[in-house]
Amino acid sequence: MLKFNPKSVFTIAKKEFLDNIRNKWVILLTFIFVVLVLVFSYVSGSQSNSDSTFGGMQDTVFGLVGISSLLIPLIAIILGFSTISGEAESGSLYVVLSYPVRRIEVLFGKLFGLGSVIVFSIVLGFGLGGIVIFSTVGADNWQGYIAFILLSILIGFIYLSLAICISSFCKKRITSIGGGILIFFWGMIYGTVILAAYFATGYSMKDFTTGNIPGWFWNSVIVSPGDLHQTAVQRAFGITQIESAGFSFKIPEFLSMANVMIFHFIWLIVPLILAYFFFKRRDI
């Protein structure tokens, strides 16, 4: 039976929040994030009023996804990539673990503490962005916007859980940097690999226009949390058809909101289980 003291988790979480909210990289990235969200909301929002080619909030949000799906994972990775390996290397983890606290409590404390830094950045960025959007385009589809914020928090936690997993596996801070870079670029690597597989299995560019796309091509987004997140945002706004570069794709049935959510939680939980396993066996 796994013993667990919520109070210790809270204590660790509070410490992580206080320490990392003052991390200069996190401050810088949060600042960039907030500025980009504000600028984009303002530009996109005010244009959508005058120009009918912009579809109001929905399009603004899809623009914002471009910013958030880059910066939120980056903030999460920076917060988490060396949270265990770095602390083990510097020696602060020796002291913490000599206190009456279990490793699982340290792990969850880190997840929630660092997670609240992400929540702080997101709420600050999208909160202010929301005010700008609502004042320029109005509050239509505000439920979608709330869902978008919640999904952003979720993807932040997913990348955080991946980063913590990397940091509990890697012996040293320097190797976990490599791991952090790998998960950050994973979406890109995945895209290249899946496109190569698409052409290798006999499909061509022409098949895109005709819509003759194999199911696995679409469904494979489940292996990339970033793409999964974008699909979830589209679903949250009730979109089933994607228009892109002159092509039109229908999001397959398999990627229903429920299924997309299940895969989100798999991406959240599996790295955490692995992280616990690595951390438990680790010699500090």
Binding site: N5, K7, S8, T11, I12, K14, K15, L18, D19, N20, R22, N23, S90, G91, S92, Y94, V95, V96, L97, S98, Y99, P100, V101, R102, R281, R282, D283, I284
Partner: protein, 359 residues
């Protein structure tokens, strides 16, 4: 600086005074105006701690610890106990396995085999109770860069479940009072170590585990930490600390264990280790105009094991029974003896001998 309370001989009023050891101050009683002198007692020089055969329950039990790192046996079947209320020195050259042993004891390292008990609690099955019984100072101590000492100790107090009102006095006690709201990231190495010491004292646990507490610190800090360890013992706590600085261990410890290349090569009281190794006290004789020459008569004297001369000092290792004979022989030969001293066997010698024998 030391603080003393003195009593006025006339009106019995208590007066609190501050001064340096050995310093004489003139004071006057605030009540009856009687004037007087007071000399602060000189500090006692550290000497071999009186051996007290500790008995009763064990504070720490290590049984059959073995730990291998990538095929290298860092610690090989080590067992020893630390008794309640004693200062235990864990001694060995760098890389001998001291840190591995202490970390295994705390469950920071997953040992290949071994049983560990702290304050009677098994570290595997009663992790929380065991860890609540100790204060631990690692060899390389480090804290969180963006937190202040106040926030850092607050955090540890919460983990330990200890009273937070002790934080300020603790910080004052270790001399970090002025840095109370500075970020730990801007601290010097010594200051970080002092914060480490403060952290150890949180919750006043019965057992202290200190890994090289004086390593890499200058004499001033070493003195502070040494005093701290002494006061812990006086308060009835158990202290185990590792070191490769032998003089420190010798001056403080009731018992020592010596580890070399992952194996325990001795575990005993300081005096017993010296006895077993047959290390005898040395005579240091100041002879006028000796000039580095060893007198032949002393060399030939029966019972003299070793003799050497450095400038005007003659060092003689011999049976205690013939010590006086050495002196009388020198005097008979017409040597002018200025001073005679006895040098107690040092643990350093015992240690070098043990480690060499182990090779």
């Amino acid at each position: 600086m030391v603080t003393k309370k003195v009593e006025c001989p006339k009106c019995k009023t208590h007066i609190t005074i501050e001064g340096k050891p050995g310093e004489t101050t003139i004071l006057s009683c605030p009540n009856c105006n009687l004037k007087g002198k007071y000399t602060f007692p000189k500090e006692e020089k550290p000497s071999i701690v009186k051996i007290k055969e500790a008995d009763g329950e064990n504070a720490i039990e290590i049984k059959n610890l073995t730990k291998t790192f990538n095929g290298f046996k860092a610690v090989d079947d080590i067992s020893f106990n630390v008794k309640k209320g004693e200062i235990f020195g864990f001694l060995g050259p760098n890389g001998a396995g001291k840190t591995t042993t202490l970390k295994s004891l705390l469950g920071l390292i997953n040992a290949d085999s071994g049983e560990f008990k702290i304050n009677g609690y098994d570290i595997k099955t009663q992790e929380i109770e065991a860890k609540r019984s100790i204060g631990f100072l690692p060899e390389r101590v480090q804290f969180y860069e963006n937190l202040t000492p106040m926030q850092t100790l607050n955090f540890f107090c919460e983990l330990q479940g200890a009273d937070k009102s002790i934080i300020k006095p603790l910080l004052k006690d270790v001399g970090l009072e002025e840095a109370i709201n500075k970020k730990v990231g801007n601290f010097s190495k010594g200051m970080v170590q002092l914060l480490g010491v403060a952290q150890v004292l949180i919750g006043s646990p019965p057992i202290y585990i200190l890994d090289e507490p004086m390593g890499g610190l200058d004499a001033r800090w070493v003195k502070i930490i040494r005093e701290k360890i002494k006061s812990l013992k006086e308060g009835g706590s158990t202290v185990i600390f590792s070191s490769h600085i032998l003089t420190e261990v010798e001056a403080l410890c009731d018992r020592v264990a010596i580890i070399n290349k992952g194996k325990l090569i001795a575990e005993d009281t300081v005096s017993n280790i010296s006895k077993v190794l047959n290390i005898k006290p040395r005579l240091s004789i100041h002879v006028k105009d000796l000039d580095g020459k060893v007198p032949e008569v002393i060399k030939k004297l029966k019972g003299v094991e070793f003799v050497e001369a450095k400038k005007d000092i003659l060092f003689v290792t011999c049976e205690s029974a013939i010590r006086s004979k050495v002196i009388t022989t020198l005097e008979k030969e017409g040597f002018n003896i200025i001073d005679i001293r006895t040098i107690q066997p040092s643990l350093e010698e015992a240690f070098v001998k043990l480690v060499e024998e182990d090779r």
